[in-house]
Every structure is written in C-alpha cells, then in structure tokens.
C-alpha cells in the first residue's frame, strides 16, 4: 500500500503541481502594479474645488487622526509600474517617484522630504501629506 502511495509517478505529479503553483505565485507577485495616486484636499467647510472622495477612501481617511471633516479629490493619476521600475509623479506641487519593488511592495520617494517603503496590496492604502497642510497623496492599487 505504501509503495503504491509513494510511487514515483505520484511523487512526480505532486512535484510538478507544486512547481506550477510556485511558478504561478511568483508570476502573480512579479506582475505590473496598477496604481492610483490621488491628490486629496481636506476641509472642514463645503468646497467646490474637486470632487468628494469615494466613500471607501473617505471611510479610511476619517479613521485617521486628521483634523478635516471632508476630503476632495483635486487630481488623480492611474498608472502601471513594472517590477523594479519607477514612475515619476507631480501632485500638488510636490514631485514624487513610485517604485515597484515586487511582491506588491512600493517605495514612494517624496523629493527633498523622504522615502516610504510599504506593502501595498489591494486592501491597503498609503496616505502622506504634501506641501499644503491640508493636502495629501492617497496611493493604492487601482480597482
């Protein structure tokens, strides 16, 4: 019984399956990242400039320790970044570079300010402030 269970054919099939699974996983991890960067302005007053952020983003922003009651999208960019590739952006007068590190990790470099390395899966959002006190960049994977 054990001989047939651990037969060479079954072991070979199992190894092949694992290799295919590993290959598929590696391929998924190294595919291009489709990202969306939004310049969001926070305000405590009704604002005509920009459009209100999506309810999903609004919920996330309102849970953060920020002093604004409403958030509006001033500009938005969707782009794809290949693994180990970078995309340069200019949002709200701030220059930044987004690099795909692979494995759904990104490196956001804000010129003359700093660098953030963060995993950015579908359910994750990265928020950082830019020049104006009520201006933020919301970076996440595009839907």
């Amino acid at each position: 019984m054990s001989t047939s269970f651990f037969s060479a054919t079954r072991l070979a099939c199992a190894a092949l399956g694992l290799m295919l699974l590993a290959g598929a996983t590696a391929h998924a991890a190294d595919k291009d990242l489709k990202l969306e960067a939004q310049l969001v302005v926070g305000s405590n007053d009704p604002q005509t400039k920009g459009t209100p952020v999506s309810p999903q983003v609004e919920k996330k922003l309102k849970r953060l320790p920020l002093k604004w009651g409403s958030y509006y999208v001033v500009s938005s960019q969707q782009f794809s970044v290949a693994k180990d590739d970078s995309k340069q952006l200019l949002l709200g007068g701030s220059e930044m570079v987004v690099k795909n590190l692979g494995g759904e990790r990104v490196e956001l470099t804000l010129i003359n300010r700093g660098k953030i390395t963060q995993s950015l899966r579908k359910d994750q959002t990265l928020v950082t402030n830019v020049k104006d006190e009520n201006s933020f960049v919301v970076l996440r994977q595009a839907d």
Binding site: G42, K59, K60, L61, R63, L64, P65, L66, K67, W68, L110, I111, N112, R113, G114, K115, I116, T117, Q118, S119, R121, D123, Q124, T125, L126, V127, T128, N129, K131, E133, N134, F136
Partner: protein, 168 residues
C-alpha cells in the same frame, strides 16, 4: 528327535516330564542330552552377528525423525499481559493524540501568527531626507491604511493633536 525337542522346549509338559525321567534313568540318553546342550551353546556363541542393511525408506524416515527432533517446537505464546496490551494500544494512541493536539494548537495559533507576520510586513519604513525634518507614522490595521506625515513646520501640522513620535 524327542531329546532335541525337549531341549528346545517344544514338548508338552507331560512328555517333557517323561523325557526328563528317561534321561535320569538312561545314562546314554543323559550323555546325548548333554552333548546336544553343549552343541547348542557352542553354536549360539560362535554364530556371527549379522546386521541387515537398512532399507531406503527406513534411512530417510530416520533422517526425517532426526530433523523433527532437532527442530524447535513452537511454543505456545503466553497470553499477553495487561501491560503489554496497554503498551500495544496506549503508545500509538498517545502518539496520535499528541499529533492531534499539536495540529489543533498550530491551527488555532496560525491565524494569530499570520496576522502578526503580515502586520510586521506591512510596517512601513520611513526615511527623511532632511536632517531637521521629522516623520510621524500612523497605521490603521483594520482598514489597512498607513499615514505618514512629514513635518515642515510645527504651525502647519494637519494632525488634531500632533505627537512627536509614531502613533500606532
């Protein structure tokens, strides 16, 4: 002939008594009986001892009997003692139970460990470019949101109650 038969013990008791009486009375008969007895004894002593050759069947049957004699006879196994029965079933059962318990512990601990691992992997790494700048990090694990606030000037702080260190 009667004397020879008497000597061989083949005569009936009555005739044997008559012969015995006759040999006691007749000297010639007595000497003849003695001679026959001597001859018989001499033949008995000088007769060569002949051994019959063994037959083929007898030879092999003898080997078979010898083999059977030398073979260890199966000894009836003693009835298993209570400890032996306990050892036979208890140890495997204990091993299986230990494996099940270990599996349950791993199963119930795994989600926590996985969350901790993911949480550690999700922790952002922040580097500030300027020497006098600072960065504050806030993580909302339930929503998967990370906020990184770079400080420019204290007056421009967008945080409700800004703290100089990381909020988590």
């Amino acid at each position: 002939m009667k004397l020879q038969a008497f000597l061989d013990g083949e005569l009936p008791a009555r005739e044997a008594r008559e012969i015995l009486t006759w040999t006691q009375r007749d000297r010639e008969a007595s000497s003849l009986l003695a001679e026959l007895r001597n001859t018989r004894q001499a033949l008995a002593k000088s007769e060569p001892h002949l051994s019959l050759p063994e037959s083929r069947e007898f030879f092999w049957s003898k080997i078979e009997r010898e083999i059977q004699r030398l073979e260890p006879h199966p000894v009836a196994a003693p009835p298993p003692s209570g400890f032996a029965a306990l050892r036979r079933w208890f140890f495997p059962a204990a091993a299986v139970s230990a494996l099940v318990i270990a599996g349950m512990i791993a199963y119930f601990q795994a989600p926590t460990a996985a969350v901790q691992t993911v949480a550690d992997a999700d922790a952002p790494t922040v580097e500030t470019t300027l020497a006098n700048s600072d960065a504050t990090t806030y993580r909302d694990a339930s929503e998967g949101t990370t906020l990184v606030l770079f400080s420019y000037a204290v007056d421009n702080s967008p945080v409700k109650n800004k703290k100089p260190t990381a909020i988590n």
